[in-house]
Every structure is written in structure tokens, then in C-alpha cells.
């Protein structure tokens, strides 16, 4: 009867897994970083736009009213706040808040996966050094 030949597949399997893992985790981390950078950039653009619009309309100058005497504040605060609400670029601000919320959510929801991917890559790098 022909004798069955069996060799250790561990090395071959682990080589393929290391390659696969480097590609998978590397790709995942690159995608994650790209998304975070893009979200950050868009949020930055909205933050700058908001700041420019507020400066252009001089909306926040109205708040200087609250540095006046209590009597003046009492008389004009309601009108001042109304003007501030009318002039303030809320659309831009909500967009900025939404983007920041998404960014925080992405960072929070991926924290475990990120640490696993980083650990996998660092382990593979350590093994490669040996």
C-alpha cells in the first residue's frame, strides 16, 4: 500500500495569512485614515466658512451689548438676540456640527477594530524583523 505523505502546512499557511492580513488590515487602516482626513477637511472648510460669514455679517459684535450696563442690557437683549438669530449662518453651523458628529462617531465606533488592526500589523512587523 502506498504510504501517505504529509508535511507540516503551518509555515505555508502562516505565510499566506501574514500576506492576507497585511493587505486586509493595511487596506482597512488606509481607508479609515482617508475617511477621517476627508471628514476633517470638510469640517475644516465648513468651520472656516462659518467664521468668515460671522465676521462678514459682524453678528457677534451684537453680543458686545452684554458688556454694557444692566439697564441697557435689560432693554435691548431681546432685540439683540433676535438679530443674532436671524443673522447667524445656522445652515453652515449645523453642517459643521453634523460633520463633527459623524467624525466622532467614526472614531468611537472603530476604536476596537483599529486597535486590533494595529496590533495585527505590529505583530506581523515584529515577526518579519525576526
Amino acid at each position: 500500500m502506498k504510504k501517505r505523505r504529509q508535511t507540516d502546512v503551518t509555515v505555508a499557511v502562516m505565510q499566506r495569512i501574514a500576506k492576507y492580513e497585511q493587505e486586509r488590515s493595511g487596506w482597512w487602516l488606509r481607508a479609515f485614515h482617508t475617511i477621517v482626513v476627508l471628514l476633517g477637511l470638510v469640517a475644516g472648510v465648513f468651520a472656516v466658512r462659518l467664521a468668515l460669514q460671522v465676521r462678514e455679517r459682524q453678528t457677534l459684535d451684537m453680543i458686545a451689548l452684554f458688556q454694557e450696563d444692566a439697564e441697557i442690557i435689560r432693554e435691548f437683549w431681546a432685540d439683540t438676540m433676535e438679530i443674532v438669530f436671524v443673522e447667524f449662518p445656522f445652515e453652515t453651523m449645523w453642517m459643521l456640527i453634523a460633520l463633527l458628529f459623524v467624525l466622532v462617531f467614526v472614531l468611537w465606533s472603530t476604536r476596537r477594530k483599529r486597535s486590533i488592526a494595529n496590533r495585527r500589523l505590529s505583530e506581523l512587523a515584529k515577526r518579519n524583523k525576526k
Binding site: Q6, V9, M14
Partner: protein, 174 residues
């Protein structure tokens, strides 16, 4: 030898310890190989399937419930991998087998023809009395008694001639 249980190793892999999988590979490879060998009969193919099964297992390990028996996952993935491997290879295998069988047949024919010629040449070198007996007994499939009758020899003489002829042929054929 790693003392960790399968459950601990699976959890470790899920937590990012890639090389905990190495322990699992070493732990199950013999069992898997013999399991797959029963399905495919070819040892090399079984080894390829075992490798592929491990890769498939690793790809899905994040979805595995570590509390459930790991061996169930391993063997079911190995079985599924073997089935799809066989399905994929089916056409190639049958074509290969046909070609191989044809080659073998051709080789056997050549060998048989050559052997026959060599034997015939050796028989031709025998003394006529031995040659006659050999031809009748082996080529014409005639019994001792019939040869004895046709050559008008005692049966025992026919046996002796055959014995001597075979011995000479053995020497001639090396």
C-alpha cells in the same frame, strides 16, 4: 506546546494575536489531513485543501462564536472547501485522467511488445526439442498430456524439457 484552550486561542486571534492561529493550525492539521484524505484520496490534494481550509477559516474567524466548539467550524469549513475544490477540479481531473490513462496504455503496449520480441528471440535460440515444447505449452496453450501425445514422448519427459527450457530462457533473458 501551548496550554491555551481552543476558545482562548480563537479569542486571542479575534483580539489581533495573529500568531495564536499558528497554534490552532498545528493542533488540527493532522486530524484535518486524514479527514480530507478520506474525501479526496490524493495526499497532495488533501494538503492543498487543508491549507485552503485554514485560509478560509482565518478569513471568517472574526465571526466565529468562540464559546462554541472550534472543531465543528474547522471540520465543516474543511468539508466545504474540499467539496468546492473537487467541484472546481472535476473537469481538469477527468481530462488529466484520460490523458494519463492513454499514456499508460501506450507505454504498456510498448513494453509488452518489446518483452514479447525479446522472449521470442530467446526461444529461437533454444534447442529444437525444447523450443517445440515451450511453443506448444506457452504459446499454443497445449497441455502436458497433449504435447506428450503429439511429440510421442512420456509426460515426465515433457515436464523435464519444459523445466530445462525455462532454466535456459531465464539465463538468456538475464
Amino acid at each position: 506546546m501551548d496550554a491555551r484552550t481552543d476558545e482562548q486561542l480563537v479569542l486571542a486571534v479575534q483580539e489581533g494575536d495573529v500568531f495564536a492561529f499558528e497554534v490552532l493550525v498545528g493542533r488540527y492539521q493532522k486530524k484535518l489531513h486524514s479527514f480530507v484524505s478520506r474525501m479526496v484520496s490524493d495526499s497532495q490534494m488533501a494538503q492543498d485543501i487543508v491549507q485552503e481550509a485554514y485560509i478560509n477559516l482565518y478569513k471568517t474567524i472574526d465571526r466565529i462564536d468562540a464559546k462554541r466548539s472550534f472543531s465543528i467550524y474547522v471540520f465543516s469549513i474543511a468539508r466545504n472547501t474540499a467539496i468546492s475544490y473537487l467541484r472546481q477540479k472535476k473537469k481538469h481531473i477527468s481530462l488529466d485522467m484520460i490523458e494519463l490513462a492513454e499514456e499508460e496504455r501506450l507505454y504498456e503496449q510498448l513494453v509488452t511488445r518489446e518483452t514479447q520480441q525479446t522472449v521470442r528471440r530467446a526461444v529461437a535460440k533454444l534447442e529444437p526439442k525444447y523450443r517445440r515444447v515451450i511453443r506448444l505449452y506457452y504459446f499454443d496453450d497445449v497441455s502436458y498430456e497433449q504435447i506428450a501425445k503429439s511429440l510421442q514422448l512420456p509426460v515426465n519427459t515433457v515436464r523435464t524439457y519444459l523445466f530445462r527450457a525455462k532454466k535456459i530462457l531465464r539465463d538468456l533473458l538475464g
